[in-house]
């Protein structure tokens, strides 16, 4: 019976794993943000990436309706304490159930999946779920941010 607790100091105080000690936002979900897929912005976005605006909403317009919609909530959150100048976008994944159409109203919600500090670097995984007006799933965005210290 005593085996399991024998590693703990006699006082009963255990050291807290560093990522738990440092993250105030792991598991945090931000309020949902509703926006309209603006046709003019879609066209400007398509031209900027060299796509034909006639082909509709480019897949990575999710950078607007998912990332730009919910990222500011994370970056502006004092609890998250993200120093924008030390922020690196390390990787990105999008999964689509369906691609939204121009003019459609969508709702995106950001969530901190994990926030781990290791060797002076912070690895923060941020996920955004985007749904259509009827609540059906459109897109899931998953981003790894690295914040240098």
């Amino acid at each position: 019976m005593v085996g399991a607790s024998s590693a703990a100091p006699a006082s009963g105080i255990r050291s807290i794993p560093p990522h738990l000690a440092l993250s105030a936002v792991e598991g945090k979900t931000y309020p949902a943000v509703t926006s309209v897929i603006d046709p003019e912005r879609v066209a400007a976005f398509a031209r900027a990436i060299g796509a034909d605006p006639a082909d509709g909403v480019p897949p990575t317009f999710a950078a607007v309706y998912a990332l730009a919609a919910t990222g500011p909530q994370l970056f502006g959150d004092p609890e998250a304490a993200v120093d924008f100048a030390r922020l690196l976008h390390a990787d990105q994944e999008f999964e689509w159930e369906r691609h939204p159409q121009a003019g459609e109203t969508v709702t995106s919600q950001g969530h901190v999946v994990s926030d781990i500090s290791r060797r002076g670097m912070r690895f923060l995984t941020y996920e955004t779920a985007t749904t259509a007006e009827d609540g059906s799933a459109l897109c899931r965005s998953r981003t790894l941010f690295i914040i240098r210290s």
């Binding site: 912005r41 400007a44 976005f45 031209r47 900027a48 990436i49 060299g50 796509a51 082909d55 509709g56 909403v57 480019p58 897949p59 990575t60 950078a63 607007v64 990332l67 730009a68 924008f84 100048a85 690196l88 976008h89 390390a90 990787d91 990105q92 994944e93 999008f94 999964e95 689509w96 159930e97 691609h99």
Partner: protein
């Protein structure tokens, strides 16, 4: 599936247009002095601009953007104005596409890049 390849030479104008359209106004993409003050050689292209071009190549390979159901990449290298990046898509089995983005020095700027698509 035939291999799809597109070479893009990045310009400050394209980077500024992407900043405007995407809403990502981080000064490392727009202000050379600021970029150098944080240890960069100068302004750099958005990773998401590179991924956007990669997605176009993937969409062409998949037979339409509406078919893409997953897209992933790591942002592995900096892209500066004047750099030419070759974005490519090729068959990686049923419903899968292998993607790459390599600059004029042969360095991969996006790595582990892949896409999955629906057949309709």
């Amino acid at each position: 599936m035939k291999r799809i390849e597109r070479a893009v030479t990045f310009t400050p104008d394209q980077i500024a247009a992407y900043a405007e359209a995407s809403g990502d106004h981080n000064p490392i993409h727009l202000d050379g002095e600021f970029a150098r003050s944080v240890g960069l050689p100068g302004i750099i292209a958005h990773g998401m601009l590179q991924m956007g071009i990669l997605a176009c190549v993937a969409a062409e390979a998949a037979g339409g953007a509406h078919r893409l159901r997953r897209l992933y990449c790591r942002f592995a290298g900096m892209v500066e104005p004047g750099d030419t990046v070759a974005f490519a898509a090729e068959d990686a089995g049923p419903g899968k596409i292998a993607l790459s983005a390599v600059n004029q020095r042969g360095e991969a700027v996006l790595t582990k890049a892949s896409a999955e698509y629906r057949s309709s």
